[in-house]
Symmetry: C2
Subunit: 182 residues, 2 copies
DNA sequence: AATTTATGTCAGCCATATTGACGTTTCTGC
DNA sequence: GCAGAAACGTCAATATGGCTGACATAAATT
């Protein structure tokens, strides 16, 4: 491996963030970008750890979460939410069905549909994982107070694409809190 | 595939969020949990789209980002930040070196170290991706005002694990804004 | 009756992560 | 100066979770 050596090494003993040299343009939100990265990394880390014990991964969690929260979700809806293909969903969903975390029910309006429901076993897992994440969120919201919490919600809502929302997003944005500052 | 049919189908025409039946315990932060999921999904989606044109994935972006922002980052530091193994980093890093997005420089205090630096080409890519994400963040921050923006930063900071922070996190939490409400 | 929709499935591929083992260079402690 | 540890690179094998393409079936729609 070729070693590229520059004129003067200029070793920084203290690591410091540097605006990349193209700092001439509009200011970039480096702080928020990185905070989001770390916050999300640790946020999902809570669940990841616990999931190992069940032999599941993040994919299983996402499926379980949305099925539990939105009972009767169709397969197609789930695909929209997760933004994956049905083949990808297939493997994960099959495991969750086999291991009795989720059950399917034929739609009665449209018998082609397979509506998805969490079993008590599935709900328990989702609640456990949500508990871990809630602890972290509560701790963080305490720092900003109730008014701050509402600002955080507004911010997160505004970060989400609203064009062509999936069924779940529609439900989320139809919620009372959404009407607040729309 | 066995079809499990229940007593009464009870089809919901409008999808509605349901507290899983174990709602007896402490309240769970379903709203924030889901907002974080969707916000992050769309946030990283901005970059993902652009990366395809370069034949890169998210892994490349993460590496490029931190190397650009923290010039002289050691390989070991990067592993801490990204929470991956050196083998995983290896392939991605090799590509970025080969394609001249990143250069290595032997540490002069410790010649075992390979300090990482972005090339102008690399910086340009990172700035472009950060620009996309900044547009989204700016749009969202407008909704909450300057005071709200500070609340959002406080919230995100508080979401991050502080025990055993890596070098980059230390730098982030050493920043002036961090001192504000510590 | 023909077509479209919702779903499932088979086969293969790719990206990104893992563990374990091993080698080299260089620093550190004795 | 030497032993050992540290920082890195790399080989091999494996797992997960994505992907595309093709095809099948049942049920709804036209």
């Amino acid at each position: 491996m070729a070693d590229i050596n520059f004129s003067s090494p200029t070793l920084s003993p203290e690591l410091r963030a540097a605006e990349p040299s193209a700092a001439a343009g509009e200011p970039l939100r480096w702080d928020i970008i990185e905070l989001l990265f770390f916050a999300y990394r640790d946020f999902v880390g809570d669940a990841d750890h616990e999931l190992e014990a069940f032999g599941f991964g993040r994919a299983h969690h996402r499926v379980m979460h949305f099925v539990t929260r939105y009972p009767g979700l169709k397969v197609a809806d789930l695909l929209d939410v997760l933004r994956i293909t049905k083949q990808s969903l297939g493997r994960v969903l099959k495991q969750l069905l086999d291991e009795d975390y989720i059950v399917q029910k034929t739609g009665n309006n449209d018998r082609r549909q397979r509506l998805l429901f969490a079993t008590p076993k599935g709900e328990a897992l989702v609640a456990k994982l949500a508990g871990l994440q809630t602890a972290r969120i509560d701790r963080a919201l305490e720092q900003v107070g109730p008014a701050g919490a509402e600002k955080v919600r507004q911010f997160l809502r505004a970060m989400i694409d609203r064009d062509d929302p999936d069924k779940v997003l529609e439900a989320i944005f139809r919620t009372p809190a959404a009407a607040a500052k729309e």
